[in-house]
Protein backbone atom coordinates (compact mmCIF):
# COMPACT_ATOMS: atom_id res chain seq x y z
CA UNK A 1 0.00 0.00 0.00
CA UNK A 2 2.72 2.39 0.97
CA UNK A 3 4.67 1.52 -2.16
CA UNK A 4 1.68 2.33 -4.36
CA UNK A 5 1.25 5.71 -2.73
CA UNK A 6 4.92 6.51 -3.15
CA UNK A 7 4.91 5.54 -6.81
CA UNK A 8 1.85 7.64 -7.43
CA UNK A 9 3.24 10.87 -6.10
CA UNK A 10 6.30 12.06 -8.01
CA UNK A 11 7.23 14.66 -5.45
CA UNK A 12 6.77 13.30 -1.96
CA UNK A 13 3.98 14.96 -0.07
CA UNK A 14 5.08 16.67 3.13
CA UNK A 15 4.33 15.17 6.50
CA UNK A 16 0.59 15.35 6.80
CA UNK A 17 -0.37 17.81 9.48
CA UNK A 18 -0.77 15.97 12.74
CA UNK A 19 -3.11 17.81 15.02
CA UNK A 20 -1.39 21.12 15.41
CA UNK A 21 -2.07 21.77 19.06
CA UNK A 22 -1.47 25.26 20.30
CA UNK A 23 0.89 24.75 23.20
CA UNK A 24 0.43 28.29 24.56
CA UNK A 25 3.90 28.29 26.01
CA UNK A 26 6.85 30.47 25.16
CA UNK A 27 9.11 27.42 24.94
CA UNK A 28 10.18 27.94 21.32
CA UNK A 29 10.56 31.69 21.90
CA UNK A 30 12.90 31.19 24.85
CA UNK A 31 14.76 28.55 22.83
CA UNK A 32 15.27 31.02 20.00
CA UNK A 33 16.50 33.77 22.32
CA UNK A 34 18.73 31.33 24.22
CA UNK A 35 20.43 30.18 21.00
CA UNK A 36 21.45 33.76 20.22
CA UNK A 37 22.46 34.78 23.74
CA UNK A 38 24.43 31.59 24.41
CA UNK A 39 26.06 31.86 20.99
CA UNK A 40 27.51 35.26 21.85
CA UNK A 41 28.60 34.12 25.33
CA UNK A 42 30.18 30.96 23.97
CA UNK A 43 32.30 33.00 21.56
CA UNK A 44 33.90 34.78 24.52
CA UNK A 45 34.14 31.64 26.69
CA UNK A 46 35.63 29.40 24.01
CA UNK A 47 38.16 31.86 22.65
CA UNK A 48 39.16 32.78 26.23
CA UNK A 49 39.59 29.08 26.96
CA UNK A 50 41.61 28.48 23.81
CA UNK A 51 43.87 31.46 24.54
CA UNK A 52 44.51 30.43 28.15
CA UNK A 53 45.26 26.82 27.28
CA UNK A 54 47.11 27.06 23.98
CA UNK A 55 48.78 30.46 23.73
CA UNK A 56 49.25 32.02 27.17
CA UNK A 57 52.45 31.13 29.07
CA UNK A 58 54.16 27.96 27.80
CA UNK A 59 51.30 27.25 25.45
CA UNK A 60 50.15 23.76 24.62
CA UNK A 61 53.26 22.06 26.05
CA UNK A 62 52.24 23.14 29.56
CA UNK A 63 49.06 21.09 29.53
CA UNK A 64 49.07 18.07 31.83
CA UNK A 65 47.13 16.80 34.83
CA UNK A 66 48.89 19.40 36.94
CA UNK A 67 47.88 22.28 34.65
CA UNK A 68 44.26 21.21 34.73
CA UNK A 69 44.29 20.75 38.48
CA UNK A 70 45.87 24.18 38.89
CA UNK A 71 43.17 25.79 36.79
CA UNK A 72 40.35 24.07 38.62
CA UNK A 73 41.73 25.08 41.97
CA UNK A 74 40.47 28.57 41.15
CA UNK A 75 36.71 29.18 41.34
CA UNK A 76 36.93 31.47 38.29
CA UNK A 77 37.99 28.61 36.00
CA UNK A 78 35.56 26.22 37.61
CA UNK A 79 32.69 28.59 36.82
CA UNK A 80 34.15 29.36 33.37
CA UNK A 81 34.40 25.71 32.38
CA UNK A 82 31.07 24.82 33.95
CA UNK A 83 29.36 27.62 32.00
CA UNK A 84 31.12 26.54 28.84
CA UNK A 85 30.05 22.93 29.33
CA UNK A 86 26.43 23.70 30.08
CA UNK A 87 25.93 26.42 27.48
CA UNK A 88 27.66 24.45 24.72
CA UNK A 89 25.71 21.31 25.54
CA UNK A 90 22.32 23.02 25.69
CA UNK A 91 23.09 25.10 22.60
CA UNK A 92 24.23 22.09 20.62
CA UNK A 93 21.46 19.80 21.83
CA UNK A 94 18.82 22.36 20.95
CA UNK A 95 20.35 22.73 17.50
CA UNK A 96 20.33 19.00 16.87
CA UNK A 97 16.78 18.79 18.26
CA UNK A 98 15.72 21.31 15.61
CA UNK A 99 17.45 19.34 12.88
CA UNK A 100 15.72 16.13 14.02
CA UNK A 101 12.38 17.95 13.95
CA UNK A 102 13.16 19.03 10.40
CA UNK A 103 14.36 15.81 8.90
CA UNK A 104 12.97 12.86 10.84
CA UNK A 105 9.68 12.32 9.08
CA UNK A 106 8.27 9.38 11.03
CA UNK A 107 7.16 9.96 14.60
CA UNK A 108 8.96 6.80 15.72
CA UNK A 109 12.28 7.90 14.24
CA UNK A 110 11.86 11.28 15.85
CA UNK A 111 11.22 9.82 19.28
CA UNK A 112 14.17 7.42 19.08
CA UNK A 113 16.62 10.06 17.83
CA UNK A 114 15.53 12.60 20.40
CA UNK A 115 15.74 10.08 23.23
CA UNK A 116 19.28 9.20 22.19
CA UNK A 117 20.11 12.90 22.00
CA UNK A 118 18.77 13.69 25.47
CA UNK A 119 20.51 10.65 26.93
CA UNK A 120 23.84 11.76 25.43
CA UNK A 121 23.21 15.25 26.77
CA UNK A 122 22.52 14.03 30.29
CA UNK A 123 25.52 11.69 30.41
CA UNK A 124 27.92 14.36 29.11
CA UNK A 125 26.66 17.12 31.37
CA UNK A 126 26.56 14.99 34.53
CA UNK A 127 29.99 13.48 33.88
CA UNK A 128 31.51 16.84 32.95
CA UNK A 129 30.11 18.62 35.97
CA UNK A 130 31.32 15.83 38.23
CA UNK A 131 34.85 16.04 36.79
CA UNK A 132 35.06 19.81 37.16
CA UNK A 133 34.31 19.64 40.89
CA UNK A 134 36.01 16.39 41.86
CA UNK A 135 39.11 16.38 39.66
CA UNK A 136 42.05 14.76 41.43
CA UNK A 137 45.42 14.94 39.62
CA UNK A 138 46.90 12.19 41.83
CA UNK A 139 44.37 9.35 42.01
CA UNK A 140 45.58 6.83 44.61
CA UNK A 141 46.86 3.53 43.31
CA UNK A 142 47.79 4.70 39.80
CA UNK A 143 51.03 3.74 38.06
CA UNK A 144 53.68 6.35 38.94
CA UNK A 145 54.76 7.00 35.33
CA UNK A 146 51.32 8.31 34.42
CA UNK A 147 51.15 10.86 37.21
CA UNK A 148 52.47 14.43 37.21
CA UNK A 149 55.74 15.02 39.02
CA UNK A 150 54.30 16.79 42.03
CA UNK A 151 52.32 13.77 43.17
CA UNK A 152 53.94 12.18 46.18
CA UNK A 153 53.57 8.52 46.93
Amino acid sequence: MTATTEARSPIPAPRSPRNRRTTRTNYELYGWVFMRASGVLLLVLIFGHLFMNLIDGDGISAIDFGFVAGKWASPLWQVWDLLMLWLAMIHGTNGVRTIINDYAERTGTRVVLKSALYLAFTVTVVLGTLVIFTFDPCPPGSPADLLPSFCTA
Binding site: R8, S9, P14, R18, T22, Y30, W32, D102
Partner: protein
Protein backbone atom coordinates in the same frame (compact mmCIF):
# COMPACT_ATOMS: atom_id res chain seq x y z
CA UNK B 1 6.17 58.95 -36.93
CA UNK B 2 9.41 60.63 -35.99
CA UNK B 3 10.93 57.28 -35.10
CA UNK B 4 10.20 55.83 -38.51
CA UNK B 5 11.83 58.80 -40.22
CA UNK B 6 14.93 58.49 -38.07
CA UNK B 7 15.27 54.75 -38.71
CA UNK B 8 15.05 55.15 -42.44
CA UNK B 9 17.43 58.10 -42.30
CA UNK B 10 20.30 56.02 -40.90
CA UNK B 11 22.04 53.41 -42.99
CA UNK B 12 21.60 50.06 -41.23
CA UNK B 13 24.23 47.42 -42.02
CA UNK B 14 22.05 44.46 -40.99
CA UNK B 15 19.52 43.03 -43.43
CA UNK B 16 16.49 45.23 -43.07
CA UNK B 17 14.11 43.64 -40.63
CA UNK B 18 10.55 44.75 -40.86
CA UNK B 19 10.13 47.84 -38.74
CA UNK B 20 8.53 46.98 -35.43
CA UNK B 21 8.85 43.24 -36.03
CA UNK B 22 9.19 41.13 -32.94
CA UNK B 23 12.02 38.60 -33.10
CA UNK B 24 10.91 35.00 -32.87
CA UNK B 25 12.89 31.95 -31.82
CA UNK B 26 12.48 28.30 -30.94
CA UNK B 27 12.32 27.48 -27.27
CA UNK B 28 12.31 24.07 -25.60
CA UNK B 29 10.23 23.50 -22.50
CA UNK B 30 11.20 20.55 -20.30
CA UNK B 31 8.07 19.93 -18.31
CA UNK B 32 7.62 17.56 -15.34
CA UNK B 33 4.54 15.52 -16.18
CA UNK B 34 2.45 13.36 -13.92
CA UNK B 35 -0.68 11.66 -15.22
CA UNK B 36 -2.54 10.02 -12.33
CA UNK B 37 -4.87 8.03 -14.59
CA UNK B 38 -2.24 6.04 -16.47
CA UNK B 39 -1.69 2.42 -15.26
CA UNK B 40 1.70 3.04 -13.69
CA UNK B 41 1.43 6.66 -12.75
CA UNK B 42 4.93 8.00 -12.43
CA UNK B 43 6.33 11.43 -12.99
CA UNK B 44 8.54 11.93 -16.04
CA UNK B 45 10.09 14.73 -18.06
CA UNK B 46 8.71 15.68 -21.45
CA UNK B 47 10.22 18.18 -23.85
CA UNK B 48 8.25 20.41 -26.19
CA UNK B 49 9.78 22.78 -28.72
CA UNK B 50 7.66 25.68 -29.85
CA UNK B 51 8.28 28.94 -31.68
CA UNK B 52 7.91 31.92 -29.43
CA UNK B 53 8.27 35.66 -29.75
CA UNK B 54 10.63 37.95 -27.89
CA UNK B 55 7.73 39.46 -25.98
CA UNK B 56 6.35 36.10 -24.86
CA UNK B 57 6.24 34.84 -21.32
CA UNK B 58 6.71 31.24 -20.19
CA UNK B 59 2.93 31.02 -19.90
CA UNK B 60 2.52 31.92 -23.60
CA UNK B 61 4.87 29.11 -24.60
CA UNK B 62 2.94 26.71 -22.35
CA UNK B 63 -0.33 27.84 -23.91
CA UNK B 64 1.12 27.12 -27.28
CA UNK B 65 2.01 23.60 -26.15
CA UNK B 66 -1.43 23.01 -24.65
CA UNK B 67 -3.41 24.53 -27.52
CA UNK B 68 -1.37 23.30 -30.46
CA UNK B 69 0.77 20.32 -29.41
CA UNK B 70 -0.54 18.36 -26.41
CA UNK B 71 -3.90 19.27 -24.93
CA UNK B 72 -3.37 16.96 -21.97
CA UNK B 73 -0.76 19.27 -20.43
CA UNK B 74 -2.35 20.52 -17.24
CA UNK B 75 -1.59 23.65 -15.29
CA UNK B 76 -3.46 26.36 -13.43
CA UNK B 77 -3.78 29.90 -14.70
CA UNK B 78 -6.57 32.40 -14.41
CA UNK B 79 -5.84 36.05 -15.05
CA UNK B 80 -2.47 35.48 -16.71
CA UNK B 81 -1.36 38.92 -15.56
CA UNK B 82 0.38 38.28 -12.26
CA UNK B 83 -2.53 39.06 -9.96
CA UNK B 84 -4.56 35.90 -9.39
CA UNK B 85 -1.61 33.85 -8.20
CA UNK B 86 -2.70 30.65 -9.96
CA UNK B 87 0.34 29.81 -12.04
CA UNK B 88 3.17 29.63 -9.54
CA UNK B 89 5.60 26.94 -10.69
CA UNK B 90 9.25 26.02 -10.44
CA UNK B 91 10.91 27.48 -13.53
CA UNK B 92 14.59 26.62 -13.94
CA UNK B 93 14.68 25.65 -10.26
CA UNK B 94 13.15 28.88 -8.97
CA UNK B 95 9.59 29.53 -7.95
CA UNK B 96 8.08 31.99 -10.40
CA UNK B 97 4.74 32.96 -11.87
CA UNK B 98 4.72 31.65 -15.45
CA UNK B 99 2.81 34.77 -16.49
CA UNK B 100 5.45 37.13 -15.13
CA UNK B 101 8.55 35.35 -16.45
CA UNK B 102 9.64 36.57 -19.87
CA UNK B 103 11.32 34.00 -22.10
CA UNK B 104 13.95 36.57 -23.08
CA UNK B 105 15.09 36.75 -19.46
CA UNK B 106 15.84 33.01 -19.40
CA UNK B 107 18.62 31.11 -21.12
CA UNK B 108 16.72 29.81 -24.15
CA UNK B 109 19.75 27.98 -25.53
CA UNK B 110 19.01 25.27 -22.97
CA UNK B 111 15.62 23.72 -22.30
CA UNK B 112 13.59 25.61 -19.71
CA UNK B 113 12.67 23.22 -16.90
CA UNK B 114 9.19 23.60 -15.48
CA UNK B 115 8.09 21.66 -12.40
CA UNK B 116 5.19 21.89 -9.98
CA UNK B 117 5.90 23.83 -6.79
CA UNK B 118 7.48 21.63 -4.12
CA UNK B 119 6.16 20.49 -0.77
CA UNK B 120 2.53 20.12 -1.81
CA UNK B 121 1.03 16.88 -3.18
CA UNK B 122 0.92 16.80 -6.97
CA UNK B 123 -2.51 16.08 -8.46
CA UNK B 124 -1.68 16.21 -12.16
CA UNK B 125 1.24 17.66 -14.12
CA UNK B 126 1.77 21.12 -12.63
CA UNK B 127 -1.38 21.17 -10.52
CA UNK B 128 -0.80 20.65 -6.81
CA UNK B 129 -3.17 20.27 -3.89
CA UNK B 130 -3.21 23.73 -2.29
CA UNK B 131 -5.36 22.69 0.66
CA UNK B 132 -2.54 22.39 3.25
CA UNK B 133 -1.40 25.85 2.19
CA UNK B 134 -4.85 27.39 2.62
CA UNK B 135 -5.41 25.50 5.88
CA UNK B 136 -2.44 27.34 7.38
CA UNK B 137 -3.73 30.59 5.94
CA UNK B 138 -7.12 30.11 7.57
CA UNK B 139 -5.54 29.29 10.90
CA UNK B 140 -4.01 32.74 11.33
CA UNK B 141 -7.49 34.31 10.95
CA UNK B 142 -6.97 36.53 7.90
CA UNK B 143 -9.79 38.95 8.68
CA UNK B 144 -10.30 42.09 10.73
CA UNK B 145 -10.90 41.40 14.42
CA UNK B 146 -12.32 44.23 16.53
CA UNK B 147 -14.04 44.73 19.85
CA UNK B 148 -16.96 46.89 20.87
CA UNK B 149 -19.60 48.52 18.74
CA UNK B 150 -19.15 49.12 15.07
CA UNK B 151 -18.29 52.77 14.44
CA UNK B 152 -20.85 54.86 12.54
CA UNK B 153 -18.22 55.96 10.06
CA UNK B 154 -15.20 54.23 8.55
CA UNK B 155 -12.31 53.11 10.76
CA UNK B 156 -9.79 55.84 10.19
CA UNK B 157 -6.09 55.31 9.78
CA UNK B 158 -3.21 57.68 9.09
CA UNK B 159 -0.96 57.28 6.08
CA UNK B 160 1.88 56.27 8.42
CA UNK B 161 -0.25 53.60 10.08
CA UNK B 162 -1.17 52.25 6.65
CA UNK B 163 2.44 52.32 5.55
CA UNK B 164 3.43 50.06 8.48
CA UNK B 165 1.94 46.93 6.88
CA UNK B 166 1.80 48.06 3.25
CA UNK B 167 4.33 45.51 2.04
CA UNK B 168 2.40 42.49 3.28
CA UNK B 169 -0.90 43.63 1.73
CA UNK B 170 0.55 42.78 -1.66
CA UNK B 171 0.30 39.00 -1.17
CA UNK B 172 -1.69 37.14 -3.84
CA UNK B 173 -1.51 33.72 -2.15
CA UNK B 174 0.30 32.06 -5.03
CA UNK B 175 2.30 29.83 -2.62
CA UNK B 176 5.60 30.62 -4.35
CA UNK B 177 7.16 31.58 -1.00
CA UNK B 178 5.80 28.72 1.10
CA UNK B 179 6.73 26.10 -1.51
CA UNK B 180 10.27 27.52 -1.78
CA UNK B 181 10.88 27.15 1.96
CA UNK B 182 13.15 24.19 2.87
CA UNK B 183 11.56 23.93 6.30
CA UNK B 184 8.14 23.57 4.66
CA UNK B 185 9.50 20.93 2.25
CA UNK B 186 10.45 18.61 5.08
CA UNK B 187 7.87 19.65 7.64
CA UNK B 188 4.37 20.07 6.27
CA UNK B 189 3.18 21.33 9.62
CA UNK B 190 5.15 24.55 9.51
CA UNK B 191 2.77 27.47 8.92
CA UNK B 192 4.96 28.67 6.07
CA UNK B 193 5.91 32.18 4.95
CA UNK B 194 2.60 33.05 3.26
CA UNK B 195 0.53 32.47 6.40
CA UNK B 196 2.97 34.54 8.46
CA UNK B 197 2.95 37.35 5.88
CA UNK B 198 -0.83 37.48 6.04
CA UNK B 199 -0.77 37.43 9.83
CA UNK B 200 1.72 40.32 9.68
CA UNK B 201 -0.75 42.24 7.53
CA UNK B 202 -3.26 42.22 10.41
CA UNK B 203 -0.90 42.22 13.41
CA UNK B 204 0.51 45.59 12.34
CA UNK B 205 -2.83 47.03 11.21
CA UNK B 206 -3.77 49.80 13.69
CA UNK B 207 -7.50 49.00 13.27
CA UNK B 208 -7.14 45.35 14.15
CA UNK B 209 -7.38 44.09 17.71
CA UNK B 210 -6.60 40.42 17.20
CA UNK B 211 -2.82 40.74 17.22
CA UNK B 212 -2.46 38.91 20.56
CA UNK B 213 -4.42 35.90 19.28
CA UNK B 214 -2.44 35.74 16.05
CA UNK B 215 0.88 36.04 17.86
CA UNK B 216 -0.29 33.28 20.18
CA UNK B 217 -0.98 31.01 17.21
CA UNK B 218 2.34 31.76 15.50
CA UNK B 219 4.29 31.43 18.77
CA UNK B 220 3.57 27.72 18.52
CA UNK B 221 6.25 25.11 17.84
CA UNK B 222 5.34 25.04 14.15
CA UNK B 223 5.13 28.82 13.96
CA UNK B 224 7.62 31.59 13.27
CA UNK B 225 10.41 30.03 15.34
CA UNK B 226 10.87 27.35 12.68
CA UNK B 227 12.03 30.03 10.24
CA UNK B 228 15.80 29.81 9.59
CA UNK B 229 16.01 33.03 7.56
CA UNK B 230 16.95 31.16 4.40
CA UNK B 231 15.54 34.06 2.32
CA UNK B 232 14.18 31.66 -0.35
CA UNK B 233 10.73 33.16 0.22
CA UNK B 234 11.87 36.73 -0.35
CA UNK B 235 13.66 35.62 -3.50
CA UNK B 236 10.61 33.74 -4.77
CA UNK B 237 7.90 36.33 -4.12
CA UNK B 238 6.55 37.55 -7.47
CA UNK B 239 5.14 40.62 -5.74
CA UNK B 240 8.48 41.65 -4.26
CA UNK B 241 7.31 41.34 -0.67
CA UNK B 242 10.19 41.25 1.80
CA UNK B 243 8.88 38.03 3.30
CA UNK B 244 11.79 37.18 5.58
CA UNK B 245 11.74 40.72 6.97
CA UNK B 246 8.03 40.39 7.72
CA UNK B 247 8.65 37.11 9.55
CA UNK B 248 11.44 38.74 11.57
CA UNK B 249 9.09 41.60 12.49
CA UNK B 250 6.55 39.11 13.79
CA UNK B 251 9.32 37.42 15.83
CA UNK B 252 10.33 40.80 17.25
CA UNK B 253 6.72 41.55 18.20
CA UNK B 254 6.62 38.25 20.11
CA UNK B 255 9.86 38.96 21.93
CA UNK B 256 8.80 42.45 22.99
CA UNK B 257 5.49 40.96 24.15
CA UNK B 258 7.22 38.25 26.21
CA UNK B 259 9.84 40.40 27.93
Amino acid sequence: MTTVLETTGHATPEPAAEVGAIPSFDVTLRIRRFLPDTPEAEAYWEEFTVTAHGTDRVLDAMHKVKWEVDGSLTFRRSCAHGICGSDAMRINGRNRLACKTLLKDLDIKKPITIEPIKGLPVIKDLVVDMEPFFASYREIMPFLITNGNEPTRERRQSAEQRERYDDTTKCILCAACTSSCPVFWTDGQYFGPAAIVNAHRFIFDSRDEGAAQRLEILNDREGVWRCRTVFNCTEACPRGIEVTKAIQEVKRAMITRAF
